[in-house]
Symmetry: D3
Subunit: 130 residues, 6 copies
């Protein structure tokens, strides 16, 4: 269970409600993830984290789908069960097919393998990559 419990919308302060409202508006949903409800015990972290994610995940040179897949690839590398579950859902909502998921996960596996091969064999960086 979340360390400090989850704060539901009706029990939230006006400061927290404002963040919840913005999350629902930006994401076009009426659902607030447990992640936000758990952070709501610390309104400054809630607001800062949401503002950062909102800014970072907005489409730019990379589109929303690519961004969600990068987020999921990092979460799979860190093996965070919560973030894997929630960002798998988010990536699918953004258009990730099962085929894309499979290609992304194959890269995640391979990169985790080659990272250790390069480090374990103490490979020096090529001059041209410096």
């Amino acid at each position: 269970m979340a360390t400090c419990g989850l704060i539901e919308y009706d029990a939230a302060s006006s400061e927290v409600k404002a963040v919840y409202d913005d999350i629902m508006a930006v994401r076009q949903t009426d659902y607030i993830n447990n992640f936000w409800k758990a952070l709501a015990h610390d309104p400054s972290t809630l607001r800062r984290t949401w503002e950062s994610i909102k800014q970072i995940m907005a489409p730019g040179e990379l589109n929303a789908l690519t961004k969600e897949m990068i987020y999921l690839a990092v979460s799979a590398t860190n093996q965070c069960p919560y973030c894997i579950a929630s960002h798998t859902a988010a990536a699918r909502k953004a258009g990730m097919t099962d085929g894309m998921l499979a290609e992304m996960m194959a890269i995640v596996g391979m990169a985790n393998e080659s990272n250790r091969l390069a480090s374990g064999y103490q490979v020096e960086i090529d001059e041209r990559f410096k």
Copy 2:
């Protein structure tokens, strides 16, 4: 220095040369990265790793650029100096702009932060994400 040293093309066995030749043909380059030269002391790992990477990084539902950026995002999460250096070069060759790099790295940073917030606060997975 690489644990077992680097095997240059001219000093390579025919089995290793065959892999080097395929790498250069597929990547349209005449340069072999130190990573491969360090693996060449174990030809079976060299061949298996190259065959896997060749298959995984070939364009599919995801294009080559997206694939390289996911590879780089994982390497940055694992903080592997060799793979960050070499895959930054590879991603740029595949078309990554400084703006794309910046957007990708912002996601890498944010995901690494939120992974720990979710785990550290012991947030339970939402029923709808199970």
Copy 3:
């Protein structure tokens, strides 16, 4: 379930009981965590680990509360569910308020983010920090 099961006090050897007794005396409790009961199958690791933790966590230049929060910060970074749960309890017992938890977790998140930004962007160490 723990790989080798949990060894309860009454079923423990005298060697294990001696460690359990010391844990309860030092921590002023009559409860033995599952962690110790799982280690008890290997009495030498049980004793060595307890002796190390007893020495390391004793107040020194840093007080007990600061020490527990550092332990929790590391466990959150490694995303170890068992240690997060047990050391959240331990830190609270040592006086950690919800406000302190929030400040500590914000640092954990931020450090995990900036560690990847520094590594991912290949930032060279400033001369003055060497």
Copy 4:
């Protein structure tokens, strides 16, 4: 070398200069770390990261020294050479003695050990910690 190079003060845009000025004012120094100069190629990440760190590291229920030591403990756990070097300097500036460093590092080592013992032995979380 930093992926996109370092942006020195005199070569910086006014947006970047404003962040540099705030860093120097808040930290009461005339030195800008390479970390910020490397991020300056992406002014939005530079500003967001600085604003977050400024807010998070300001004294609250935890004092500045405790906060710096938690930051360093996380960086040591993640083995980020840049952040270990720069935050060792920052923690010392905030008052960390060699004795405090030794106590903190001993906890970092021990927590990294016990995290794996708990996970590797598949220890179930005690009911009272849920």
Copy 5:
């Protein structure tokens, strides 16, 4: 629940069945782990991963038991619940006693500790180890 669900033998395509058959033949069992059933949604990753593991885990200069214990040591370091559970079973089947498990886990804990002590104290590599 596995992201894409589990594919049971009877519901598998002939391509997947061929891999399942080979797994059962090589491992002399009639049981297919959930890991393979989850990968089966991506037959190319299923086949590639199985072929790699079959090749890597076959006895060579290292025997099957040593190989399984190294696999388990890595999984405990990464704190992967699935792989810890399945490779504990595999290592036991290969002959790992509780005493061997205890010795291996003690090393895993110690190495995770000393890795952070070496990195956190910024110890330079001895000339003779370069």
Copy 6:
């Protein structure tokens, strides 16, 4: 450079010299690694770490070579440059051939890959492995 510098034998206190002497006697060498010289600023951590490693690495049900390879496999997974360099030397001294190194590293790579595939695909643990 090591955070607190390296303490050479001649400059060491009698307490530190006693540990150095024991290291040289047990390892049958006249060389003290930088790791110990860096820890020597904190004699209690130096002694505790050495006593633990001496106990853990002594041959038991697993021989010295197997133990050194497990240590190296963990260090490669954590990508600790110091520990990879020093334990590669230690493992070779204990009898590790280039062929054994290659087999061990192949497992390290593969386990790091499959750990992420299992976690990323959210594979549930088989009933028989619980």
